[in-house]
């Protein structure tokens, strides 16, 4: 491996994973081997009731328990690197490729989240290397923020996102230190493996038939649900104070690059996916005798879509194939961004130290030049001259019915942020119960929505409504970017499903990509710092009218092309 140095622990690589039966070399693999040989009967008998193992089934247990212990990536890669040659025949790889860890390691930027900011074990001369630009920045941030050796500020404030650690992790343990090098690794998103590795269930084919709640009870997060997936991504890509993931304005001031706006499907595409979507599953099984028969397929599909219980596998498969899943993820991503932003405000209100931190607000709310020729967007009903939360996290749910509590919540938020610059903390705390209830209702709603079938009409209507709604806010680069990303996802999916002629609309997408620099395909090991200058310059000087023109054009073409 390129990055393996004498000092750093060597990262695993597909090269040294035995091709025949990698599982044998890991404890998890042993259990898998055992489960496979004993067959499904054994598996069923040993499958513990999640209600028993966990005591109670938490109502919102789809999100994994952060108090569980992370076992480290080596446990995962023992199986998820290379399937044994017997696996396809046994049906193990019908729903899982078992190459995930390699995909992640060789292509995903998350694998380098720590490597790019590590400040230990680098010599003075190494810091000066061009490819160590981001490490240099991290070191300078450390100095500027006045952090001292041993005060664990770097561990607590940076690694929660750059290595997916949890606030309750023991920083001194060798387990913690040894795993840092893998960056944002498996368990950071999928949930700590302490429990689900202890059972044999995770390694059995029955695992795919389990409900998200049952898996969550064992510590595994249901990332196939778009809402939950978005929540996990946003905990770093927007912030989550409860999980210790929060970039304060001081950290930005010390040099942290600005967080780009988050668009779920675009970002998932850019990772790139180390998983298969439901569209792609079950995978073709060239070894199986009956190529149309898959174990637990019906259970698997009914777990992921609501209202399917009475339908046949074939029927569900057809419906799922017709569903606009990519658009759905974009929709849900936008909604959950909004919820996460509200959650950040609420959590900040509960922590006086975070309250009023400038980073809770839109950069451009303050950092706008004093040019008068530059049109500025100011949210409706806001007092001039007050900072406001970022628009990009507030793509509203217009197209998915304006719910009355949403309007009420919005009014209350506006009141709190209008009363005092940086918002009135007491007022937010007063309405805390209302916010919490609202958030929990919304959460259920989006988790449910993620299991629905989305048809072409609602796809079109949503994008048209979204463009109409965002049009006045496009002066904000982040809003323009996020809207253009969503438009790209939706339009491409319509084209893919033969609902739209590519020739009519591709030119608009190309222009948007050119004007707004929408591409995310930087090399895996390259820091975003290399693009920061371009991004910020574009942010302050892009052609707003051109973006508006192309988005409106997309909206018009969608309206005129309804079949």
């Amino acid at each position: 491996m390129i990055r393996s140095t004498a000092d750093a622990p060597a990262r695993f690589s597909s090269n040294w994973i035995p091709l025949v039966c990698p599982g044998l070399f890991g404890s998890a693999g042993l259990r898998l081997f055992f489960a496979l040989s004993m067959g499904v009967l054994v598996a069923n008998a040993s499958a513990a009731d999640p209600l028993e193992t966990n005591g109670t089934l938490n109502a919102s247990a789809e999100l994994a328990n952060p108090h569980l212990k992370q076992m480290g990536i080596k446990e995962c890669q023992a199986c998820h690197s290379q399937p044994g040659f017997l696996y396809p025949k046994l049906g193990v790889t019908q729903f899982v490729r078992l190459t995930e860890a390699v995909q992640w390691n060789e292509r995903d930027k998350h694998a380098y989240a720590y490597e790019l900011v590590r400040i230990d074990q680098l010599s003075e001369s190494e810091f000066e290397l061009p490819e160590k630009q981001s490490n240099r920045r991290a070191r300078d941030m450390h100095t500027k923020l006045g952090w001292k050796q041993g005060d664990n500020q770097f561990e607590r404030k940076c690694l929660s996102c750059h290595a997916g650690t949890n606030p309750q992790d023991e920083l001194d343990s060798s387990h913690f230190r040894d795993n840092l090098i893998y960056g944002v690794q498996c368990e950071a998103c999928h949930g700590a493996a302490e429990k689900y590795l202890q059972t044999t269930e995770h390694q059995q084919p029955t695992w795919r038939a389990k409900s998200p709640e049952e898996k969550a009870a064992l510590g595994m997060t249901d990332l196939s649900n778009a809402a939950i997936c978005a929540e996990v991504c946003l905990s770093c890509h927007l912030g989550n104070i409860q999980q210790g993931r929060f970039i304060s304005h001081d950290m930005y001031a010390a040099g942290h690059p600005p967080l780009p706006p988050f668009e779920l499907q675009t970002f998932l595409d850019a990772m790139p996916p180390h998983w298969g979507t439901i569209h792609q599953k079950p995978y073709e099984n060239e070894f199986a005798e009956d190529k149309t028969s898959f174990q637990f397929e019906h259970e698997y599909l009914t777990r992921h879509f609501t209202g399917m219980d009475s339908k046949s596998t074939q029927q569900i498969r057809q419906e799922v194939q017709s569903s606009f899943e990519r658009t759905k993820r974009s929709m849900v991503g936008a909604m959950v961004s909004q919820s996460s932003a509200l959650q950040l405000v609420q959590d900040a209100a509960n922590q006086p130290a975070s309250w009023g931190d400038y980073s809770l607000f839109d950069c451009m709310g303050c950092h706008q030049t004093l040019y008068k020729d530059r049109s500025r967007y100011r949210p409706e009903g806001r007092v001039p001259g007050r900072p406001f939360p970022p628009h990009w996290s507030s793509l509203s749910d217009t197209a998915l019915e304006a719910v009355s509590p949403a309007v009420e919540i919005n009014t209350k938020l506006n009141q709190a942020f209008n009363k005092v610059p940086f918002g009135d903390r007491e007022k937010i705390l007063q309405d805390s119960l209302l916010f919490t209830q609202f958030q929990s209702d919304r959460r259920k709603r989006w988790i449910g929505f993620s299991k629905e079938i989305i048809d072409s009409q609602s796809t079109r209507e949503w994008l048209i409504a979204l463009i109409d709604e965002q049009s006045p806010k496009l002066t904000d680069y982040w809003v323009a970017k996020q809207t253009a990303w969503i438009a790209t996802i939706v339009v491409r999916e319509l084209i893919e499903k033969n609902e739209l002629e590519a020739s009519r609309i591709e030119a608009d997408l190309d222009s948007l990509h050119r004007i707004l620099h929408l591409d995310l395909n930087t090399p895996q090991k390259q820091s975003v710092l290399t693009e920061q200058g371009t991004t910020l310059q574009t942010a302050q000087s892009f052609d707003v009218e051109a973006v508006r023109y192309h988005l409106d054009s997309i909206s018009n073409k969608l309206q005129s092309s309804v079949k």
Binding site: K144, A253, A353, Y358, C363, H367, V383, G385, P421, A539
Partner: protein, 492 residues
């Protein structure tokens, strides 16, 4: 220097005595701790009474309107020139009416731009004033009469910011101040006629609006809605002001310097009073934190580090991640500290340090900031009355020249807009109107570097006829060095 000065002076030498008298009068007034408060007002605090202005121009005192002053026999002239500076000129009101921008302030408040501001702020809605207190806050500086009780078509309303805005409500003294010098003296000391002759006191009257006061607050909300930010400088404004009076000192070598210093000190007092009120949360208009208390450019900067103007900042933190405190109006305290022999551990510098620290600390309690501002303001007053009572009398063009050189030198490395603008104004105040011609070109370059390329909300300068090409940073820095050289050459 002296013979040259006499040649230049437009005033008979005999009047130098009057100048000395006026200057000493101002110091007498400054030292008088127990100025009689205006009848009917609440007991002023010690600091207020020092200035004799803030409580005299009080919203509850009775106004008579400019018409009362402007009768043809009094201030409604025209009358031939007079021989004595102590005698009224007689044509003050016509001069004011014809050329004083204050006389147009009611029109300004009714202009399309103002209507837009009022609407954006939600003060004006569907053609009526829906936030009376906020509108009175506008009237307080755009009109003599701030009360909403008189209607818009009253002649008093149309006079704008007229006589009584600066000279004080006249009900108590209008029939008492024209019976010889003694009556004027009595009106000034006992009845509430504001003495605008002493420069410090005059500057304090200007600062009531041009900086603000607890009931005259032009805050960031209003700026964001479209009002230009306030960048008042006594010397610069005096130069442009169509004066309806004669300053005996005008044309003297140290006139600009004295105006400049009087302005700095008065601004500091006004700013601290305003800050105290803003942070105390007892304010009708502003709510803490008040962004106008911070430098515009500390937030309004380019995130990409690519300045579009000579001095437009990329991010440069005074305190990491925190907005820098606006020092435009606080410079007076720095000057008093610098003038003190024990500057380092003087009470003033300690208190200023505490105030700045709490302003930079986003978690500081506003009550604390308010208390800090109050203590510093009291210390400024004490310094002026007991420690440095003669700072203004002693201040001259030489002191100004030295401070200008120092400020210009400090401005070069920082390239901070506010610091550079302050230094420019200090340098301008150090130079004579007839100053050496070699100073003019670099001064223009320095000024052009401070301009924003488009007419922007703030900092606001009138647009010139021909577009000004801003200098590059090296050109600007070079020009500053040339100004410094020219100023150094003038020295003894």
């Amino acid at each position: 220097m002296r013979p040259q000065f006499i040649r230049k002076c437009r005033w008979p030498l005999g009047e130098m005595a009057a100048l000395t008298l006026l200057v000493s009068m101002s110091s007498i007034l400054l030292q008088a701790e127990d100025t009689v408060p205006f009848p009917g007002t609440t007991e002023p605090n010690r600091v207020d009474s020092l200035w004799g202005v803030t409580e005299l121009i009080h919203p509850t005192a009775a106004l008579r309107g400019a018409a009362s002053c402007a009768s043809s026999g009094c201030h409604g002239g025209p009358r031939a020139g007079v021989s004595s500076v102590l005698a009224p000129r007689g044509s003050e009101y016509p001069l004011f009416l014809e050329s004083d921008p204050h006389g147009r302030s009611w029109r300004t408040l009714n202009s399309a731009a103002s209507i837009e501001i009022l609407t954006k702020l939600g003060i004006l809605s569907d053609g009526s004033i829906v936030q009376p207190a906020a509108y009175e806050n506008c009237l307080a500086c755009h009109n003599t009469d701030r009360s909403l009780s008189i209607d818009g078509i009253s002649p008093n309303r149309a006079e704008g910011v007229a006589c009584e805005s600066c000279h004080g409500p006249s009900e108590a003294w209008y029939d008492q101040h024209y019976q010889g010098p003694e009556s004027v003296w009595r009106a000034k000391t006992e009845l509430g006629l504001v003495d605008t002759k002493p420069l410090l006191q005059r500057a304090r009257a200007c600062a009531l609006c041009h900086v603000g006061a607890k009931d005259r607050d032009m805050n960031h909300d209003i700026i964001a809605a479209g009002h230009p930010a306030l960048y008042f400088d006594m010397a610069v404004y005096h130069e442009a002001y169509p004066k309806h009076w004669r300053d005996p000192e005008a044309g003297t070598e140290s006139y600009r310097a004295k105006l400049w210093l009087a302005g700095q000190i008065a601004k500091a007092d006004a700013e601290l009073e305003l800050l105290q009120a803003r942070a105390a949360k007892t304010h009708s208009v502003s709510v803490w934190p008040e962004f106008a208390q911070y430098q515009c450019t500390s937030c309004h900067n380019t995130l990409d580090g690519q300045p579009r103007t000579t001095l437009e900042p990329s991010i440069d933190w005074e305190v990491l991640g925190r907005a820098s405190v606006r020092r435009w109006n606080l410079q007076g305290t720095d000057l008093l500290i610098a003038n003190d022999d024990n500057a380092k551990d003087s009470e003033l510098s300690v208190l200023l340090g505490e105030l700045l620290a709490s302003l930079h600390d986003s978690s500081a309690r506003p009550e604390q900031i308010s208390r800090d501002a109050q203590s510093l303001r009291a210390a400024v007053a004490t310094t002026l009355t007991s420690k440095q009572p003669s700072i203004l009398t002693q201040w001259n063009s030489e002191s100004q020249r030295l401070i200008a050189i120092q400020q210009l030198q400090e401005a070069i490395p920082t390239l901070n807009w506010e610091q550079a603008a302050l230094a420019y104004v200090a340098a301008w105040s150090a130079s004579q109107p007839m100053a050496s011609p070699e100073l003019q070109p670099p001064m223009n370059t320095v000024r052009n570097g401070l301009l924003f390329p488009f007419r922007s909300q703030s900092p606001f300068f009138p647009r010139s006829e021909t577009p000004i090409v801003p200098p590059s940073r090296p050109e600007w820095t070079q020009a500053v060095s040339r100004v410094i050289q020219s100023l150094e050459k003038v020295g003894p």
